[in-house]
Amino acid sequence: MNLDDELRRRLQAAADEAGAGVDPAAVTQAAVTKAAAGTRPPLRLIGGLGVAGVIVGGAIGFTALKPDASAGASAVIVQTQRYSLYDCPDGGLRGTALPGDRVFVTGRNETGDWLELRDPRNQAKRAWVPADAVDPDAVSDVPVVPCSPAVELAAGVATTSTTSTTVAETTTTTVPATTTTVAPSTVPVTTPITTKPTVPPTAPPTVPPTAPPTVPPTLPPTVPPTVPPTVPPTLPPDTQKPTLSPATASPDSVFQAAGCNLTSTITVTANDNVGVSSVRGTWKGVSGSPKEFAKGKANTWTMTFGPFTGLPLGFHQAIQISIVARDAAGNQSTAAIVIVNVYDQCVI
């Protein structure tokens, strides 16, 4: 017997032992009960902090709120995986949440198998992810919301507040409030850690063992009638333009010939009260215009200008690059023009 076979034998034996006594009828009954009761447990508990409270907003991935000695609690972040974001449940792909992103869950669909959240690339917009992708412990009992791709959130505008929860170690958790009013809650130190109820293996079967258990097709609606539908918030329109710092070009000259600088990096800093959605550079005289800037660290956006081919012999032109930043609401502003000299040959 080789290693694989022995591992398979011992693991399967251990699994069979661990699963001994499972009553299929009891499993079915428990699932039916859960389906009838709805899908979202009312209380979420961040056990790592000893925090119990109602928190609007959660973490995508499997890192919720980790203890952080310096700040009391770290923010909600995407952990190790990247996730696709969708326009609507089962809708079109609209983006990606990357490791390190802060993501806030703002709602769910009626069946609870999709969650609505702020698009980490553009906090003013909403996106959806399958609920499977999100740690249920990191998400509070968020309201049911319809899929409204056109509705935008004015992140950071009159919606940010602080919610404190009294915890075992006087840890304060700060989360941005979203669509629900969050009342501070004080939880005694001795608050028991809640666990979801489970059906003990010895639960009496409700279906005769001889007959295959069936999930009754007459299950009630998946959303309890006590959960009121939530109307998307009416938020003030975003009329503030992004601001752009003077752009820089490094180096300020590029050449077609090998052995010299073939490209120049154009850098600009863009800020917006909601979020900059795009930065674009346009120019005339050489090819490649327009071109989108890529977002870098903080609010820095960069674009590589060049390389160029097909320039005529003796070509030299001071190319003026005009940079425009836009936010999700369509507001835009133009930075001062940056000039890059383009040559066909190295200048000595």
């Binding site: 290693l3 694989d4 693991l11 251990a14 499972v22 499997f62 249920p136 075992a168």
Partner: protein, 186 residues
């Protein structure tokens, strides 16, 4: 007038009836092994049962949508649920340790007949443990595990290789490992 033949017409089952039948069949055939596998992943029987129930509920809520390979789908969802639940339990335990309490982890396995194996499993990184259990216990191929977890075949092979190495290092095995040094499970 020509007499028309009359045929019996069978009414096709509704989506709800079909999904109910599928789930019932799944539970009858696979629930014991799957709960056992999930218990190995999480180390907690109650968490495993909870995960399977949640997966069944999800499958039921999607009854209007066809699910290819329902068994594999439920297995993956339950496994992911179990991972989440396992993390929650760990967090709860840490929190309770801080305040000097003890978390109730639900029903413990009736017995631990292979403590050496369970200890070795617990020592594995979470992903390695999940891949190993899905492959060895649930008899899923590398390709199936990769598809289920949304990762590359090569990643699964790597995780399996590491899991085997770790388990072999910690277990008393009477195995001929000659073949396994060359690559391993397919």
């Amino acid at each position: 007038m020509r007499r028309q033949d009359v045929h019996a017409v069978s009414v096709p089952p509704t989506a709800s009836e079909q999904r109910a039948d599928e789930l019932a069949c799944f539970v009858q055939q696979h629930s014991q092994r799957l709960i056992g596998a999930l218990t190995l992943i999480t180390g907690n029987r109650a968490t495993a049962e909870d995960a399977l129930q949640d997966a069944l509920v999800k499958a039921w809520h999607r009854r209007d949508q066809p699910i290819d390979q329902l068994t594999a789908w439920i297995t993956v969802v339950a496994t992911n649920q179990a991972r989440s639940g396992w993390r929650r339990k760990q967090a709860e335990q840490r929190a309770m340790d801080k305040i000097g309490g003890r978390a109730n982890h639900g029903a413990a396995p009736a017995s631990e007949p292979d403590n050496e194996l369970l200890e070795a499993l617990r020592s594995l990184p979470e992903r390695e443990r999940q891949v190993a259990v899905m492959h060895y216990v649930l008899d899923q191929s590398v390709a199936q595990v990769a598809a289920a977890l949304g990762i590359a075949d090569g990643t699964v092979k790597t995780q399996l290789f590491r899991a085997r190495e770790h388990l072999a290092a910690r277990l008393t095995l009477n195995a001929d490992r000659t073949n396994d040094q060359q690559g391993g499970a397919a």
